[in-house]
């Protein structure tokens, strides 16, 4: 291999790492993205340098260039058109393309590979990259369809049994094949495994519920990274190995963070399992106190510091821009407004932050859960909009509650809490919320967006 190509791949690897490193502060993140993108361009250009030394047939080069041009243009178009609320779908879709690429690579390489001379380790790596790529591809497409509301959850027993059977087959068939116990050709073997993996990808995401989507997206992202790394081993390409491993690491870290924030183990999420709610908790009478919009407006205008706890309900109602307006309005009157964001708010990790950033809210006012909890006693009023389980004090006080142990935003420790709710329905975990009955808590019933608009209108009049 050409020494320039080696150096190019080295630069690409370092820039991926540097890019990710710069992602750790909002100020430098944009630069980080550009560095990683530049590294990617270097890696691709270097690959062409590598080709130059060989004798390459023209049609192949033409196809490569056309494919790159089309992919780049379409990607740019999709990226510039997407709504921020639809970001999780888009990321899933792009993830599917990465997985699909790994799958096709595996299939083609399986036809080209010389079975008699190639090392068995390469065949195994090839198989693994194909399997992971296929699972990531169909899994991401199902995740995309679910996020876009095109596919419903499917928790039928047959889906779960089917997915487990396929998973077992994915392990057993290759074991038998490599032990020489299966009398089929390598090609048929590869196609069989590819097919099973594709089917497994579909069945494994189907039963997973809506609020568990952040975990699934992170996990699928991680799987694509692993597929890339495995494929890098097949080609002996270090930029691919390193890039793939970094993505795998990012995905798995986010997966575990999301699981922890939801108080669910990864296995339970994957199995689509839920704790059965014991109905005993609902029997307690709660003293619900409702509040009117004009009262809220008055109290807001006399407050010094308020906090807003946004949940997914806010994003569904497209209310983030109204939150931005409310913040601007209150700030112009000397009221400080912070946003306290639970790690699982939104449909993918960090989704709510992006939605609020879109509404022009300064990131200094976006507080993470722990920071928000420390400041909680200083807030004169906390507005909970479209969130429920993440503010339920039962997570700390009631060991028999399904949400027990889940990290929560301790809004009940503030001076006053107002929860905007559509009705008395329960949250995703299906439990009643002890917060509503507390002395410092008031409820405002109605559509979150309408209520926010009304508050803003009345504030303007004061």
């Amino acid at each position: 291999m050409n020494v320039f190509v080696e150096i190019g791949y080295l630069i690409a690897t370092v820039s991926f790492l540097g890019g990710l490193k710069f992602m750790s502060s909002p100020k430098n993140a944009k630069l980080g993205n550009s560095i990683a993108a530049a590294g990617m361009i270097i890696a691709v250009v270097c690959t062409f340098l590598l080709l130059k030394s060989n004798e390459i047939p023209t049609p192949n080069v033409v196809i490569i260039l056309v494919a790159i041009a089309l992919g780049t243009l379409l990607g740019k178009r999709m990226a510039s058109k997407v709504e921020m609320t639809a970001m999780p779908q888009l990321v899933s879709l792009f993830n599917a393309t990465g997985g699909g690429c790994a799958l096709i690579l595996g299939i083609i390489e399986a036809q080209q590979i010389n079975l008699s001379t190639s090392f068995i380790g390469i065949q195994i790596l090839l198989l693994l990259s194909l399997t992971t790529g296929a699972i990531a591809a169909t899994g991401s497409i199902v995740a995309y369809r679910k996020l876009a509301g095109k596919t419903k959850d499917n928790r039928k027993a047959i889906t779960v049994i089917g997915s487990r059977t396929l998973l077992v087959l994915i392990f057993i068939i290759p074991t038998l094949y490599f032990l020489g116990l299966l009398p089929i050709s390598f090609e048929i073997f590869i196609f069989t495994i590819a097919f099973i993996s594709l089917a497994y990808g579909i069945l494994f995401v189907l039963p997973i519920g809506g609020a568990d989507m952040p975990v699934v997206i992170s996990l699928l992202n991680s799987i694509t990274g692993v597929a890339t790394a495995l494929s890098g081993f097949v080609y002996g390409n270090k930029a691919m190995i390193a890039g793939g491993i970094f993505v795998g690491a990012a995905g798995i870290i986010l997966t575990l963070l999301m699981c922890k924030a939801m108080n669910r183990s990864l296995l339970k999420v994957l199995a689509g399992k839920f704790k059965k709610t014991t109905l005993s908790t609902t029997s307690e009478e709660q003293n619900i106190k409702s509040i009117s919009i004009s009262e809220i407006t008055m109290q807001l205008s006399f407050a010094n510091k308020i906090a807003i706890v946004p949940g997914y309900g806010l994003a569904v109602a497209q209310g983030q821009h109204l939150c931005g307006q409310l913040q601007k309005l209150l700030e112009s009157r000397g009221v400080q407004v912070d946003f306290i964001i639970h790690p699982v708010a939104g449909r993918m990790p960090g989704h709510m932050n992006v939605l609020l950033a879109e509404a022009n809210i300064d990131y200094d006012h976006l507080k993470e859960m722990d920071e928000g909890n420390e400041l909680m006693k200083h807030y004169d009023m906390v507005l909970v909009i479209g969130a429920n389980d993440v503010v339920n004090p039962a997570a700390e006080t009631k060991p028999d509650s399904p949400v027990y142990g889940m990290p929560i935003i301790k809004t009940h420790e503030s001076k006053k809490v107002v929860v905007m709710k559509r009705g008395m329905s329960t949250g995703y975990a299906g439990v009643s919320n002890d917060l509503f009955g507390m002395d410092n808590c008031n409820l405002l019933f109605g559509d979150a967006k309408d209520s926010l608009q009304e508050i803003i209108n009345q504030l303007k009049l004061i």
């Binding site: 790492l17 890019g19 990710l20 992602m23 750790s24 909002p26 993140a29 980080g32 993205n33 993108a37 990617m40 890696a43 691709v44 690959t47 590598l50 192949n60 494919a67 089309l70 992919g71 780049t72 243009l73 379409l74 990607g75 740019k76 990226a79 921020m84 970001m87 888009l90 990321v91 792009f94 993830n95 393309t97 990465g98 699909g100 690429c101 096709i104 299939i107 080209q112 997206i217 990274g225 890339t228 494929s231 890098g232 390409n237 190995i241 890039g243 491993i245 970094f246 993505v247 795998g248 690491a249 995905g251 870290i253 993918m348 960090g350 932050n353 950033a357 300064d362 990131y363 200094d364």
Partner: protein, 98 residues
């Protein structure tokens, strides 16, 4: 044993990558998790490099494989460009006071 000896360099490389990757990414604050994920997603598009290497090995008369390979390159390019553009677009919104 022989396998380990022959591939020692790559084994070191993988282990370092895993630890460095985890170390770097664990420091990313929750506020940036979405851009981190879509950025990482774009990086996994480096698989297109593999697709290009593979494309030159395909005989120019094997149209089926050429077509498939073309799709692979297309998907890789889509992943890369879409991922980086959308990350850039998101990060542009994370402004501090103007």
């Amino acid at each position: 044993m022989e396998f380990i000896q022959n591939n020692l360099e790559i084994i070191y490389f993988v282990i370092f990558c895993v630890f460095i990757g985890i170390e770097v990414i664990a420091n990313v604050p929750a506020i940036l998790h979405t851009p981190l994920m879509s950025g990482a997603n774009a990086i996994s598009g480096v698989i297109m490099v593999g697709a290009i290497i593979m494309m030159i090995q395909i005989p120019p008369t094997n149209y089926v494989l050429l077509g498939l390979g073309g799709i692979a390159v297309f998907l890789g390019a889509l992943n890369i460009s879409g991922g980086f553009f959308v990350t850039g677009r998101m990060l542009k919104m994370f402004n501090t006071k103007k």
